[in-house]
């Protein structure tokens, strides 16, 4: 088995190698801009205009700056934890409410035609609106606190969940429904044994979309808010020119977003085991 040459190994891990080196190059570029490496390096070549290549850390921070700031905020002062807890709490409540409301609503609209006729105009209108435009209204109604942010997250998340749940019922194989009704299954039984299992993957992918959108909710709702929350932290850091901190906040959101979508994807794969791979579908 030792027939693999180094060239072979490089070829087989090309993806990792290229990806990692591109990322490393990006970090070095970034660090170089904020430390003025490129300005010094290219000064003999470009003369005076090379100075434009040195960018103050206040504008772009730097990888080491972000790393250092992360260490401080996570491990030394621990100041980031309350922000994460606050935003996480809003996310859980808002997203939870969106699931509790959206899934039954979508299932019902998918199953009962007349109900979908009623729901449809509202749903499409709401879907076409950038829902964050409701922010000033919500602020007027319930202030800038916890519940306003939950409401925005809810509104952003409930739409993809409802729409996917609706689509999920519509794609249930009609033959299966025929089987159920020929066996005299009750409505509840049909839902439980036919509709729910075949709709689940769609609903889960709706949730994945919803997670992404509720992250928007967190960030945007906290533009207005106060005290604690990742969005607030970013906003305050921006206002006090703490660009390192801004990037730490962005990093937290990136990681949270990746974790949640990957987690949901894993769950999707688990529930999707019975479904044969379909090449033509997206």
């Amino acid at each position: 088995m030792n027939s693999r040459s180094i060239a072979d190994i490089c070829r087989d891990n090309e993806r990792l190698i290229i990806g990692a080196s591109a990322f490393a190059a990006f970090l070095v570029m970034w660090e170089g801009f904020s430390r003025g490496w490129w300005a010094t390096l290219l000064a003999p070549l470009l003369g005076e205009s090379a100075r434009a290549l040195a960018i103050k850390p206040i504008f772009i921070s730097s990888p080491t700056g972000v790393a250092q700031q992360s260490w401080t905020m996570f491990a030394i002062t621990g100041e980031i934890w309350p922000h994460i807890a606050q935003s996480g709490g809003q996310l859980v409540v808002g997203l939870g409410a969106a699931i509790v409301v959206g899934v039954p609503l979508g299932l019902a609209a998918g199953r009962y035609r007349t109900f979908s006729y009623i729901l449809d105009p509202f749903l499409s209108a709401l879907n076409a609106t950038p829902q964050v435009a409701f922010l000033p209204l919500f602020v007027m109604w319930i202030g800038t606190g916890f519940w306003m942010r939950v409401l925005i997250i809810f509104l952003l998340a409930v739409i993809p969940i409802t729409m996917n749940a609706l689509a999920a019922v519509r794609t249930v194989d009609p033959r299966l429904l025929k089987v159920a009704s020929s066996f005299g299954a009750t409505e509840l039984h049909t839902f439980r044994t036919i509709i729910a299992p075949s709709a689940l993957p769609f609903i889960l992918s709706g949730m994945r979309l919803a997670v992404g959108r509720s992250m928007i909710g967190i960030v945007v709702a906290e533009l207005y808010g106060s005290a604690t929350g990742i969005g607030i932290m970013i906003n305050m850091a921006g206002a006090s020119f703490d660009t390192d901190k801004v990037f730490v906040g962005v990093l937290v959101i990136v990681i949270a977003g990746l974790l949640m979508t990957e987690g949901l994807r894993a769950i999707e794969r688990r529930f999707d085991g019975w479904r044969p791979a379909i090449g033509d579908n997206m």
Partner: protein, 261 residues
């Protein structure tokens, strides 16, 4: 008679990316096809028939050995060879006529002329009236006719057919076999036909080449000494059955050997 197509000691080796193992798919294939001849290749599944066809077409480079068409060595696809693909592989966003035009466009024939020439072949395969339909509107058999017309319009020296009727139901397949013979006689082409259906190979061909299981090797050449034109009645002829038995036992032996080893 000089052979139209010659394969000389064609070998093909793959490298599996995960394990780095090397895998021999084709082992010293040598064969020749004469001008105007209809030759079929049969063999157990996975024996490398389709792979061999790709090498002949020039889509895959051979690891060693060579393919010679009209005395010239082949190393890439060319208008002298045209493939009729297994799944019709019609471009779903083009109409029937524009699908048939496709190959002509690729070699830079003017649009108007391409259309005119394509139309002739659409008629030849019996699809006039459907030239502006999209593939999804056609049945499987009709799609294969378009596939065939798309290859014929190129006026290739050799037609390479890769199990073109495999996906069709039994009746349509037999009907298409007859149609193919009719069109072949009309167009007068050299054909290299790949199939795993023994009866199809015998019915269509002048000669059947039997491949062994992986790695693909030429096991035997079987000449089909039955007069033309042929009709489906031939399939009940004792000579036909004798040939069928012979080829079947060749393949069967091989499958057994493979299973034991």
């Amino acid at each position: 008679m000089t052979p139209k197509l010659v394969a000389k000691d064609v070998c093909l080796e793959y490298r599996q990316p995960r394990t780095g193992d090397r895998l021999l798919a084709l082992d010293r294939i040598s064969l020749s096809v004469n001008e105007g001849e209809f030759v079929s290749i049969v063999g157990p599944s996975g024996c490398g028939k389709t792979t061999f066809l790709s090498v002949v077409d020039g889509l895959l480079p051979a690891t060693s050995g060579e393919i010679i068409v009209d005395g010239l060595r082949v190393n890439k696809p060319g208008p002298d060879r045209a493939v009729v693909f297994q799944d019709a592989s019609l471009l779903p966003w083009r109409t029937v006529l524009r699908n048939v035009c496709y190959g002509l466009e690729c070699i830079g024939v003017r649009a108007a002329e391409a259309r005119e020439r394509a139309m002739k072949f659409v008629q030849m395969v019996g699809l006039d009236g459907f030239e502006n339909s999209y593939p999804y509107e056609l049945s499987g058999g009709m799609q294969q006719r378009v596939n065939l017309a798309r290859a014929l319009v190129m006026d290739p020296k050799i037609l390479l057919m890769d199990e073109p009727f495999a996906a069709l139901d039994a009746q349509t397949r037999e009907y298409m076999q007859e149609e193919l013979l009719r069109i072949w006689e009309q167009a007068n082409k050299t054909v290299l036909f790949i199939t795993h259906q023994i009866d199809e190979a015998i019915f269509l061909s002048d000669r059947v080449i039997v491949f062994s299981a992986r790695p693909g090797r030429v096991r035997e050449h079987v000449t089909v000494d039955i007069e033309r034109p042929r009709s489906l009645k031939l399939k009940r002829d004792p000579r036909f059955h004798a040939l069928e038995d012979r080829i079947w036992s060749l393949i069967h032996d091989d499958a057994l050997v493979q299973a034991r080893s």
